[in-house]
Amino acid sequence: MSKPVRISDERGVVDRILQGDKKSFSLIIKATENLVAQILFKMVRNEDDRKDLAQDVYLKAYNNLSGFKFESKLSTWIAQIAYNLSINYLNKRKPESIPDKFNDYNNDEEIISDLSVENKSTYDQVEKKIYGEELKQILEKEIDKLSPVYKTLITLFHNEEMSYEEISIVTQLPEGTVKNYLFRARRILKNNLLKKYNSGDL
């Protein structure tokens, strides 16, 4: 993997590309490919499709670069393209692979009822028992079980440290919905971990 590049003058780079300096586009790719990878890895399971989509993201970005109005960061705009292409891919491939928020919600509620009242000692014990590398591995599996959109939101917020507003631009979901989905996703993660602990899997 190439090292991420930081673009200090996005406008300058975009202008150069629009004037015909195609090679400058590789700077944009190197600066944003990790973010695109984060989205595509969360949304698309098939490796070959992911490879094709990753290229499509940048070809589309290149073709539409003249339409970029600098109303957001360039990386946010490219992330939006990646997210849209992923959603289109999921829609075409398998409609049910798009998360059904109500199913997630029911699942969430079920977990909550299973746990009944969260006892305070459990929290301390969970924290002590599963942490560090072990917790990372378990979390990785639990995150993977989430729906593609929830996984992506979690990644954009916690790993990419995007604001609610930026995530809202990327996903074209209202900010309130982004917050709500993130809340549910975190709660599902937390409850699944507690459920795992209570069942003795940990």
């Binding site: 790719i29 490919e33 990878a37 290149y62 305070k120 975190r186």
Partner: protein, 153 residues
């Protein structure tokens, strides 16, 4: 001081939201072990999420995209070059033919135009068209060869 325990939503709002919490809620968090523990768990989870290794592409994405863009550039450049060469070739031949024909006609320009295109002109036009087509085929062949070289890299 707030007497009820914080809900999940309040805890997440406290940890990840931008809004500030009330003094009552803050006092409750500082004195309630249960809520404090819930907050600690959410913190642990989010810190662990950050610690999970980020995925990355195991192929040269930049190289692949740039290759496609350059190939596209070559195609555009060559197709434009092809049309330009073909038209330029035809015009050049036509001018030469008309000039030659005019010289051989041994007449003035007005009379020559009045007489119209004779059979000799038609023959020469056909030959020049053939030359133009051969020229275009050669350019196409070279273009295809170049694309193959680019794709093979």
């Amino acid at each position: 001081m707030k007497s009820n325990h914080l809900t999940d939503q309040e805890i997440q709002e406290f940890l990840f939201g931008k809004s500030t919490i009330s003094k009552d809620t803050n006092d409750h968090i500082n004195s309630c072990k249960e809520c404090e523990s819930k907050i600690a768990n959410y913190k642990t989870i989010t810190e662990s999420i950050k610690a999970v290794s980020n995925p990355s592409f195991d192929f040269d994405l930049s190289g692949m995209v740039m290759e496609k863009l350059i190939t596209k550039k070559q195609r555009t450049k060559l197709s434009w070059h092809l049309i330009f060469s073909f038209v330029l070739g035809l015009i050049s031949f036509a001018i030469i033919i008309v000039c030659i024909n005019f010289i051989f006609a041994k007449t003035n320009l007005l009379e020559y135009i009045k007489n119209g295109i004779d059979s000799f002109t038609v023959i020469i036009f056909s030959v020049s068209l053939m030359i133009g087509i051969v020229h275009a085929i050669e350019i196409l062949y070279r273009h295809k060869k170049l694309i193959n070289i680019i794709n093979a890299k």
